[in-house]
């Protein structure tokens, strides 16, 4: 990778982290581009460790990390470009929400007027204006989560690292926060999120990193990751007017594993080892008089990929 490319990415090169004898992450090689990247995995899989490594809160036992070309042990440069919303639900004592964000900006060296303006903007962006002058000690879980978000993005960083940022948010605020992440990603920033709520990850991520027991199991765009899982045939849902005819037609193909008529009798769930050839076959079937209303992959999502690679039991955690 060229130096210029590395300056635009979050890069892990053969990174391992051990806490004494306990494995945090092992032999991680990643190159994360701008956009929304989700770190997905069960508790203890190494998501937070990866985030702490990116931000210098912990140091790798082996290997090298750079964030937009900056090593994390150089905080005075790193945190002008990076904001981190940690999972720690603790705050310096006696601060209001506004003071929490404002003080961070003053610590960063911003003069009063700039810090005041940026703090105001960040607090407005997370919809916490009315509670800004109240003590954080009196905030609800969701409000504390939002003020941490405001602090992480108040200095307009190029990379936002967010550890379980949707925890404790009510559905409305959740939707607003997801929209905020999308807008930040559209501005060309890195938004790196850890989550174990798979359907949310699926909805917002440009790419995912799947972790299990400290190892990266898969990474990339979810569609690409799914295609790499050859041991599980692709599932495709076809809505059509003659599901019986459709099933008997597709059964003639050797790459077809299973075709099951849906309980409502309005379509067929197909399992195939070769999705590309199946899609070509669909064209021919459509010309033979069967009216195909819709075709959609049924397991081309994070939940399915997660189940295939990590297991059903863990995915429920």
């Amino acid at each position: 990778m060229s130096g210029q490319q590395a300056d635009q990415r979050v890069v892990f090169e053969d990174v391992s982290k051990f806490y004494g004898e306990v494995l945090g992450v092992n032999r991680v090689n990643l190159s994360i581009p701008p956009g929304i990247t989700s770190l997905v995995g069960p508790n203890g899989s190494g998501k937070t460790t990866l985030m702490n490594l990116m931000t210098g809160l912990v140091r790798p036992t082996r290997g090298r990390v750079t964030v937009l070309g900056i090593p994390p042990d150089n905080p005075e440069q790193l945190f002008h470009k990076v904001g981190y919303c940690t999972q720690f639900d603790s705050f310096p004592k006696g601060l209001t929400g506004y003071q929490f964000v404002y003080s961070y900006l003053r610590l960063s060296g911003h003069p009063h007027l700039v810090a005041d303006r940026l703090a105001g903007q960040a607090i407005e962006r997370v919809n916490l204006v009315e509670a800004a002058n109240r003590q954080i000690a009196g905030y609800s879980k969701g409000m504390r989560q939002r003020i941490k978000l405001a602090q992480a993005m108040c200095h307009k960083p190029s990379a936002l690292v967010l550890d379980e940022p949707l925890n404790g948010l009510d559905p409305l605020i959740r939707a607003e926060t997801i929209a905020l992440f999308r807008s930040l990603a559209q501005e060309g920033r890195h938004v790196i999120i850890s989550s174990h709520v798979l359907h949310e990850v699926d909805a917002i991520s440009d790419q995912v990193v799947l972790l299990s027991n400290g190892y990266v199991v898969a990474e990339g765009q979810i569609h690409g990751v799914r295609e790499e899982i050859h041991e599980h045939p692709m599932q495709i849902l076809v809505r059509c007017n003659k599901p019986g005819d459709f099933a008997s037609r597709v059964f003639q193909e050797d790459y077809l594993v299973e075709a099951r008529i849906l309980p409502d009798g309005q379509g067929v769930l197909v399992k195939t080892r070769d999705a590309d050839r199946f899609y070509l076959l669909l064209n021919r079937i459509a010309q033979s008089g069967i009216n195909i209303e819709s075709v959609a992959p049924a397991d081309d999502d994070v939940l399915s990929v997660y189940e295939y690679l990590i297991g059903t039991e863990e995915s429920t955690k």
């Binding site: 912990v58 603790s90 006696g94």
Partner: protein
């Protein structure tokens, strides 16, 4: 990089920000109430003494009271009040934040860790200097307030009164600097504050018995050298007690050497602390 090109203005601004955040925490904690009690205990004692003297209409003896002040200052105020007060203030500057899981707030700011150590040290020093400095002044007033105004004027302006007060204030400040740096470092190295406190307490207590070179690695050696009234001689000749052994300072440093020595000791301890903070990782789970 030359010293001139370093970002001094940025560091100054960052240190001021740390001070704003820390001073409030250091001054107004319910858990720190005992520090005020230690600091202002002698003031109450002296005030009671003066009240009794006034009530009885007795004339005091300036010489006796000067020795009483010197003894209480060396045996209680320096060795116990400031010592434990600084422990309470400085050991928590980092350890307290680890316990409360809030240290990452600083570690996630674009802030050199050396600047953080200095900022935290200065915030502790400001609090300690104000608490113990004001106590020193109030002790002085409380002890001598029952003397007549003529006697007092004579003592303050023509005797050694003001000179002594200035010296005691200086020693108080230097004690906060010395013990502050030691306990800041202790808070970084030890999880249990009792262990370093006992170690330092014993080290400081046996200072008088140590070889001359080792004495220089203690705070009390320099402080004893700077105290304006030498109490060891009178105690030694009068009683020959354990107190006399503790108070003895066979090879006192000159004032300039004592101030310089203490500041160098503080600088070395702070430098070691910054190395430790640079290596520090946030792993609240194990603390």
């Amino acid at each position: 990089m030359s010293l001139r090109r370093l970002p001094w203005a940025l560091w100054r601004a960052q240190i001021l920000s740390i001070l704003r955040l820390e001073v409030k925490k250091t001054f107004f904690t319910r858990r720190g109430f005992w520090i005020y009690f230690l600091a202002f205990g002698p003031v109450l004692l002296y005030a009671f003494h003066s009240f009794v003297q006034l009530k009885a209409g007795r004339q005091g003896d300036l010489g006796d009271d000067t020795h009483i002040f010197a003894s209480v200052f060396q045996f209680f105020f320096l060795r116990l009040a400031i010592f434990f007060g600084c422990m309470g203030i400085f050991i928590n500057l980092f350890r307290g934040e680890v316990v409360e899981k809030s240290l990452h707030y600083y570690f996630l700011a674009p802030l050199r860790r050396e600047v953080l150590v200095i900022g935290k040290f200065l915030s502790g020093l400001l609090a300690a200097a104000i608490i113990f400095g004001s106590s020193t002044v109030l002790q002085f007033i409380a002890l001598y307030c029952y003397f007549g105004s003529n006697t007092l004027q004579e003592f303050l302006f023509h005797g050694h009164g003001l000179e002594h007060l200035a010296a005691y204030l200086g020693v108080t400040l230097l004690a906060c600097v010395g013990y502050g740096s030691v306990f800041l470092a202790a808070g970084l190295l030890f999880r249990n504050p009792l262990i370093p406190t006992l170690l330092v307490l014993v080290w400081e207590a046996v200072n008088g018995f140590l070889p001359a070179l080792m004495q220089k690695a203690s705070v009390i050696f320099y402080l004893k050298s700077l105290c304006p009234v030498n109490i060891s001689e009178s105690i030694t000749t009068e009683r020959g007690s354990l107190l006399a052994l503790i108070a003895v300072n066979p090879t006192p440093a000159s004032p300039a050497a004592a101030i310089l020595g203490l500041l160098i000791l503080c600088a070395v301890v702070l430098a070691l602390s910054t190395l430790q903070v640079r290596r520090m990782q946030i792993d609240y789970g194990t603390d």
